[in-house]
């Protein structure tokens, strides 16, 4: 049996689009027929659960019982990939907790595939998080995600400064999430459906919907580019080496 994979999506800063990235990951694995489950650590609300209610459970990642719910079931769950949307401010402490329970050690031994998607915001504070995270991330597959999805301004980092932080993490890779038209983004929010459902003109229960063709087109184009970034870092090969890694056709 293939080893389970855990993907942590987080940032220490709020409002940088962690949940958006987690949603694109769930859609991506769905398109590759990779069974996936998700944990939303924004207890008790759970934004991720709103978009993927059937796959998502809201947990408190700081509680031992919920940590057991996530990590003790890795081998037995049907889902091959576990995506954890870590609440703002909890990335470093979650990584610390994973060290303490021996999870990172298991990843180091190759028993579990572990990846961290560190979402960077446009401010310089985001870069400082990298140094902080780098201390505890260990041998995880580390992805620094520049998220432009709903940002109209340029990132304020100096490239040289960014590179100095970037190089602190061995083997780190960079992913860029492009901007999505504001109205298209907003309409997916209102619809409360996965991006692929919006593209496929489907409602929350799979029923036919009536979303704008233009907005669906924007989302399809954008999602294709995001998935192109995931293809670039060979994400499917990472979580499931034998699977076909070039599914680019977005639903619809």
């Amino acid at each position: 049996m293939a080893r389970p994979a855990v993907i942590l999506v987080g940032a220490d800063k709020g409002g940088v689009g962690k949940t958006t990235v987690a949603r694109t990951l769930i859609d991506y694995f769905g398109a590759h027929q990779t069974p996936t489950r998700a944990f939303d650590t924004e207890a008790p609300r759970g934004t991720l659960k709103r978009f993927h209610p059937d796959l998502t459970e809201v947990v408190d990642v700081t509680s031992v019982s919920d940590q057991m719910k996530i990590f003790d079931t890795l081998g037995s769950a049907d889902a091959k990939v576990t995506v954890i949307d870590v609440r703002a401010g909890l990335l470093s402490s979650t990584l610390q907790a994973l060290t303490e329970i021996g999870f990172l050690e298991s990843a180091k031994k190759g028993q579990i595939t572990f990846a961290v998607f560190h979402i960077l915001g446009p401010s310089i504070a985001s870069l400082e998080e990298i140094a902080e995270t780098a201390r505890v991330v260990g041998d995880a597959n580390y992805f620094l995600v520049k998220n432009f999805v709903n940002n109209t301004t340029f990132f304020e980092w100096d490239p040289a400064t960014y590179n100095s932080y970037f190089k602190k993490i061995k083997g780190a890779e960079e992913i860029t999430i492009p901007k999505l038209n504001e109205m298209a983004y907003e309409q997916v929010e209102v619809a409360s459906v996965p991006f692929v459902s919006f593209v496929g003109n489907k409602g929350p229960k799979g029923e036919a919907a009536n979303y704008s063709f233009v907005l669906r087109g924007y989302v399809r184009h954008w999602l294709g580019n995001v998935w192109g970034e995931f293809d670039k870092v060979k994400l499917v090969d990472l979580v499931s080496p034998k699977m076909e890694s070039n599914v680019r056709q977005v639903a619809g």
Binding site: N181, M183, A184, S212, F213, V214, L215, R216, G217, Y218, R220, H221
Partner: protein, 240 residues
């Protein structure tokens, strides 16, 4: 017909090559065939098409998302209506960039709407490059060169290779300068048998105009058939 309705985009990256005239003729032609027709005027300036065909024409724009939705969402609506787009040169690139990005041709095909691009051929390199670019970007659209003989009788066949489904070049025959002035003065209408308000048109001019119209309508009728044939071929080739 296997397609329920069609969209014809009259396009050129150059101004003043006769796009609006072709869009007017197409609109009147389809009306004459008893089809429901709506035309979209994507010229930001004088809105000439709107002046000639105010009842059938919608002023459109692709500058912002609201305009894009108003145009493209309506284009792909299955309302059994023939749609004509007079694509002004200033909107040319943004229109086709968006169309490619949102996969407009494929969406139309899935809804059984046939799309033809009538490209106004001229000898300049900008147009030649733009034509070849369209062929690469929209391999499943029917791309048809249209030669406006009023711009000169020279042929540019080598510069505008016919695409697989596009078939022959459509010809817009030349018209005597006096008659051109007549048809270019609003509210002239080709559909009106009395030739609009031009009651002082001499009989021989009237006959010449009718003859000219018959020639161009014959070209459009052939275009219609080619569209049908291309749609059938495409259905067979792609198994849908």
């Amino acid at each position: 017909m296997s397609f329920r309705s069609s969209i014809t985009i009259v396009a050129s990256p150059r101004p003043r090559v006769g796009k609006t005239l072709v869009a007017r003729l197409l609109t009147d032609f389809h009306q004459g065939e008893n089809r429901k027709v709506v035309s979209f005027d994507l010229n930001s300036g004088e809105r000439t098409l709107t002046q000639f065909l105010p009842q059938q024409t919608v002023a459109a724009s692709v500058r912002d998302v609201n305009g894009q939705m108003a145009l493209f969402d309506r284009l792909v609506t299955d309302d059994d209506t023939t749609k004509i787009i007079d694509l002004g040169h200033e909107s040319y690139e943004s229109f086709f960039t968006l169309a490619q990005q949102i996969d407009f041709i494929e969406e139309a095909r899935q809804r059984s709407i046939a799309v033809a691009i009538l490209f106004m051929v001229t000898p300049d390199q900008t147009s030649v490059t733009a034509y070849r670019n369209l062929r690469d970007r929209f391999p499943r659209a029917m791309l048809v060169p249209l030669h406006n003989e009023m711009l000169g009788s020279a042929q540019y066949r080598d510069k505008y290779p016919i695409s697989g489904s596009g078939g022959l070049t459509v010809k817009l025959p030349a018209l005597a300068p006096g008659l051109r002035k007549l048809i270019d003065s609003p509210p002239f209408s080709f559909a009106n048998s009395n030739m609009g308000s031009a009651t002082d048109v001499p009989l021989d001019a009237h006959i010449e105009l009718q003859r000219w119209l018959r020639r161009i309508y014959l070209e459009f009728r052939e275009l219609d058939l080619r569209l049908l044939l291309a749609d059938l071929s495409s259905s067979i080739r792609f198994g849908s």
